[in-house]
């Protein structure tokens, strides 16, 4: 029987964390809604199983996405995670092949060197020792990076590392001690017996030359075991909980579970999956343009985990979705933030240790009290029957050039349309939703839905991406919802709209709500290619910037908004385009105030390019209503 008391801390820690992981998973599973439970069962025992395993390998061990966006940071994460995994795997094989028995208890492979000090002298054994040393060196190189990163955050390319709590610090220290103490313990043992490979062997013989290696080894084996045990026991209280949680998250996500608009177990799983890698902090324009450095998603996740009142963090965000796109763990950051907004202010509560190990989910998100309807003054009326409804939206009413261009385009394309909010309409409801006021938003949604339904239209065209997103996602309407860029593209392609080529250089700024928010990236660019020379910017599609004017942020000051807008305008006009094009009235207004380059919505550019059917207009009855006449160029 190979046993020594020093393995006890490790054993306690290991069995604790294993049991804990099982219990916590069962709790999460139980908390899932019924359909989500079925999804997860199907996902786990079905086709997606292989996909999840592959993802776990690529993302949780290799950290492919972090490697892509930040190689040095990726290497650090990979060497620790993948290296540790290899060390355990090959350690187990080593103990199995070279040890006294097969199928050993985990501690025998972890402390293999202690129990088999004579191992690794020659032949295959030596080659294997070389491999184990190589893996240890791999981990230690990553650890060195991590230590340097903690003290100078420039090294791994991050501007700001996340701040730590006391427990995190203890856990971090024990994590840092694990591998150096293993190195020293193995080296001393190797030194005493003259074994070990290039790392432990050489270090061991050097140390043994002036230190009593035999006596020194034992305390380091204790340290090794203690740091492992401490790390395992503290893990659920710290950000390192992301390691086991991410496995659960990957299975849940691949089974098709989504955040949705209700707080639930999946929300909690995602929040605990955040590794505080800080990539979202680097992606955030509030951070690098406006100097707001405490609200990024990493801090939101941390605040929720620590049961703090996160309402200030939750509301001070553009909801641009840049962090969401970049998060290597794939946490649905924007929907999670929406959940925190709906909750409004939360009470900060002191937590017992037990509560910290098993957080009470319901205390995090209390329901907002119900209230009387707010918009009783809105009166329904009978809108004219029509095929296409044009809904300009509030923001478009502040940019009349867009509105007028759209009227010109609708006229020229010859569809039967009705300008629903020509005389000013009711807000679409999305700004209220972004402010976490869903009940109020529902009132406006109902009002608008009834009008649209009564008009009998089959298509709804809007100029505002904010309206577009809410019409698409939160209105239960039986109409095709199109952003004007999509509508214009359709009209060009079926020949209803004839356009000149304008010989202008254009760069395109993709609005957040239209691009990342609704996945409409190509249509506006396609339209622009019909009428002008489209230049690439360094910020295409998913990587596009936020103009800074977003209605998502209720807290930001006008000065900070304009700082962002100036940075963005400068980036997008680097190649001196004739026009900086966008497809959102709010982006247009925000960017126009920040640059001397002409900023125009694509509808204005298209309206400029319309070939006027001089004769046709007289011969045929125009289908649309001719109210305003051509030339809306400004």
């Amino acid at each position: 029987m190979q046993f020594d008391p020093f393995v006890i801390p490790f054993n306690i820690g290991l069995y604790f964390i294993l049991i804990y992981a099982v219990v916590r998973s069962v709790i999460w599973f139980n908390d899932l809604s019924r359909p989500d439970k079925l999804r997860l069962q199907r996902g786990f025992f079905g086709k997606t199983f292989g996909q999840s395993i592959k993802e776990i390998f690529l993302e949780s061990l290799i950290h492919r996405k972090i490697l892509k966006s930040n190689p040095r940071l990726g290497y650090m994460h990979m060497s620790l995670a993948f290296g540790w995994f290899l060390l355990i795997l090959f350690g187990t094989i080593e103990a199995d092949v070279f040890g006294a028995h097969h199928l050993n208890a985990p501690y025998k492979s972890i402390f293999f060197k202690f129990f088999n000090p004579e191992h690794g002298r020659a032949g295959f054994e030596a080659a294997y020792s070389f491999l184990m040393d190589l893996i240890l060196a791999f981990i230690l190189s990553g650890l060195l990076l991590a230590v340097i990163k903690r003290f100078s955050s420039k090294v791994v390319g991050m501007k700001k590392t996340t701040k730590l709590r006391v427990l995190d610090k203890v856990a971090l220290t024990s994590l840092w001690l694990i591998f150096p103490s293993r190195l020293l313990a193995e080296s001393f043992t190797s030194g005493a017996y003259g074994t070990g490979s290039f790392l432990t062997g050489s270090l061991g013989s050097v140390l043994a030359s002036f230190l009593p290696a035999q006596e020194m080894a034992y305390p380091f084996w204790w340290l090794y075991s203690l740091s492992l045990g401490t790390f395992f026991i503290l893990l659920p209280l710290t950000r390192y909980m992301h390691i086991p949680t991410e496995l659960f998250l990957i299975f849940a996500r691949n089974s098709g579970i989504k955040t949705g608009d209700q707080p639930g177990a999946f929300r909690e799983i995602q929040i605990y999956s955040c590794s505080s890698c800080g990539i979202c902090i680097d992606a955030c324009q509030l951070n690098f343009s406006a100097g707001i450095t405490n609200i990024q998603s990493a801090y939101l996740m941390k605040g929720i985990r620590n049961n703090e009142n996160v309402s200030d963090i939750a509301f001070n965000c553009l909801m641009c979705g840049r962090c969401d796109q970049k998060c290597p763990v794939g946490i649905e950051l924007t929907p999670l933030r929406m959940l925190s907004r709906r909750a409004g202010e939360t009470v900060e509560s002191e937590q017992t240790i037990l509560k910290k190990y098993f957080p009470d989910r319901k205390s995090v998100l209390p329901a907002r009290p119900a209230a009387d309807p707010s918009y009783t003054f809105l009166k329904q009326y009978e809108p004219a029957k029509t095929d296409v409804i044009y809904f300009a939206g509030c923001m478009t009413h502040l940019t009349p050039a867009i509105k007028n261009s759209m009227v010109a385009i609708l006229e020229a394309s010859g569809v039967r349309y009705n300008f629903l909010d020509e005389m000013g309409g009711v807000c679409c409801g999305r700004p209220l939703m972004l402010a976490g006021q869903d009940r109020e938003a529902r009132e406006l949604i109902n009002h608008n839905s009834q009008l649209i339904w009564k008009s009998g239209a089959h298509t709804l065209v809007t100029s505002c991406p904010i309206c577009y997103k809410v019409f698409k996602e939160s209105y239960y309407l039986d109409v095709e919802v199109l952003h004007h860029s999509q509508f214009i593209k359709n009209m060009i392609e079926d020949g209803s709209l004839k356009l000149n080529f304008l010989r202008r250089k254009v760069t395109y700024h993709a609005p957040c709500e239209l691009g990342r928010g609704s996945g409409v990236y190509d249509e506006p660019k396609d339209v622009l290619r019909y009428v002008a020379r489209l230049q690439e910017t360094g910020f295409e599609d998913k990587n596009s910037l936020c103009c800074g004017g977003s209605l998502g942020n209720i807290k930001i000051s006008s000065r900070q908004k304009s700082m962002i807008a100036h940075d963005v305008a400068a980036e997008l006009t680097k190649d001196n385009p004739d026009i900086l094009a966008t497809s959102c009235p709010l982006c247009k207004k925000t960017l126009a105030a920040a640059t001397t380059t002409k900023v125009a919505d694509i509808s204005e550019i298209v309206a400029d390019a319309i070939i006027k059917p001089a004769i046709k207009k007289k011969l045929t009855e125009p289908a649309g209503k001719v109210k305003m006449q051509a030339d809306f160029q400004n």
């Binding site: 000013g424 209720i554 000065r559």
Partner: protein
């Protein structure tokens, strides 16, 4: 008096002893730009809600600053947070946050403390 076709208007003064500025203070603590409003009325002129009813953000801001909160309590709910006022405000007042904070304040202090 009536015979002459006019009447003396009712006495009207801002009574800071009776009025309470705690709502206004709640807002300006959290949204400093509330203080720099010059009551120009651009926000009311562009207002989406103002298109349908006599709601005026300019008026409500003045009333809160005076501490005449009762009219504001009911009316502030009517704003749709559409954001047009923020865009037109010449002083850069973050009006959406002003409205949101006012709503919060009225929820926090159910009765007008005198």
């Amino acid at each position: 008096m009536d015979r002459f076709g006019f009447s003396i208007s009712k006495g009207r003064q801002i009574d800071y002893d009776a009025n309470s500025r705690h709502i206004a203070e709640f807002i300006s603590e959290r949204e400093p730009s509330f203080r720099v409003c010059i009551e120009c009325g651009c926000c009311s002129a562009t207002c989406t809600t103002g298109n349908f009813t006599s709601f005026s953000l300019r008026e409500l801001q003045i009333l809160m600053k005076r501490g005449e909160n009762e009219k504001v309590r009911e009316n502030i709910k009517k704003c749709m947070l559409c954001g047009k006022c923020t865009l037109v405000c010449p002083r850069g007042v973050n009006t959406r946050n002003v409205v949101t904070l006012a709503r919060q304040a009225f929820q926090k202090f159910p009765a007008n403390a005198v």
